[in-house]
């Protein structure tokens, strides 16, 4: 299999028909392939996230990451853009769904698309991945340690984040969850709760939980990186997307 790919910044149509920036990676093979929407973490549309997008390209998927902070800070340094978005209250859920929907539509419009699109998100993006899969027609969703899918967010702060418990019965795609047992947001108890709710509603899901790993264990440029958990997590993702996005 060829490992050739191309990557570039593109413009896609996001929420409310607005044009936003996105980072796209496309492999040269196979000729017909699935797509992956990558949702960046709260620190933004940064180098680490773009490396993840390219990795999905190397794995044989068309992958795109919308810049969720483009509206607040077009062209800004990713850290400055993230700070601006945070100060402004964060990304509204409705807009997130619109942007991921636009990204999924973009992937399905590519001539190489087999029509199947998955979503994956890290950290705050983990919650947003589940949110997207509750509101959009997606074929597979991956939640990497997303906080406040269950559990109660802090009150009285400018970032208005709610949990997704009421939306979980609407989950439309199989969910792969990857969590660190030393994480506190989500805590192991909150992951248990998510597992229980999805089981009660008959939603297909597969969770893997790692000892000696906390939050952000995939982040290779942070002290939280845990090689064993990250390596196994990538294997689980490859297997999961192979099952639901292939063909």
């Amino acid at each position: 299999m060829s490992d050739s790919l191309s990557a570039e910044s593109v413009r896609i149509t996001g929420h409310d028909g607005e044009e936003i920036e996105a980072y796209l990676a496309r492999p040269s093979h196979p000729p017909s392939r699935g797509g992956v929407v990558v949702i960046h973490h709260m620190p933004g549309y940064d180098r680490g996230t773009k490396e993840i997008v390219r990795r999905f390209g190397e794995l044989g998927y068309d992958a795109v990451c919308p810049n969720l902070y483009w509206r607040e800070a077009p062209g800004a340094d990713p850290a400055d853009a993230a700070a601006t978005a945070r100060a402004g209250g964060g990304v509204p859920d409705e807009r997130l769904v619109g942007d991921v929907g636009g990204a999924a539509g973009y992937l399905r419009s590519l001539p190489s698309s087999n029509g199947k699109v998955g979503v994956i998100g890290y950290c705050s993006g983990g919650r947003q991945s589940v949110l997207a899969a509750c509101n959009l027609d997606l074929d597979a969703a991956v939640d990497c340690y997303g906080a406040f899918v269950t559990g109660t967010p802090p009150e009285g702060f400018p970032l208005q984040v709610t949990n997704l418990v009421e939306q979980l019965p609407s989950l439309r795609a199989p969910l792969l969850g990857l969590f660190g047992n030393e994480d506190s947001h989500p805590s192991p108890e909150q992951v248990d709760e998510l597992d229980r709710i999805l089981t009660e509603h008959g939603k297909p899901h597969e969770f893997h939980r790692y000892d000696d790993a906390g939050h952000a264990f995939f982040a290779t440029d942070r002290p939280s990186y845990r090689v064993a958990a990250a390596n196994d997590g990538w294997e689980r993702i490859v297997e999961f997307y192979g099952k639901y996005l292939g063909g």
Binding site: A76, A79, D80, R86, A87, C123, S124, L159, H185
Partner: protein, 88 residues
């Protein structure tokens, strides 16, 4: 963890920012969450900014919790050491 916790306040002062130029800061965002650069899983982060001048008009600091508490004490000590009529 993503704490999402964010506290905002308005300020009056100046900061030395991008490319070494001074600018008036009008706002601070304070939060305890993932740092961008500091080698710690979580830090107390402060953005001194002038949003009217765009996202780049920002001075960011990321401090460990212990360092942030030390800084709080140092600021208090410095204020206390000055004549009261100057800091009223």
């Amino acid at each position: 963890m993503c704490t999402y916790a964010t506290v905002q306040t308005t300020l009056e002062g100046s900061a030395k920012g991008p490319e070494g130029s001074w600018f008036a800061v009008t706002d601070a965002t304070v939060y305890f969450d993932h740092p961008v650069h500091a080698l710690a899983e979580h830090t107390l982060n402060i953005d001194f900014a002038d949003p009217a001048k765009g996202p780049g008009a920002r001075v960011a600091v990321e401090l460990t919790a212990a360092a942030a508490r030390d800084l709080l004490s140092a600021i208090q000590e410095a204020l206390d050491s000055a004549p009261a009529e100057l800091t009223a």
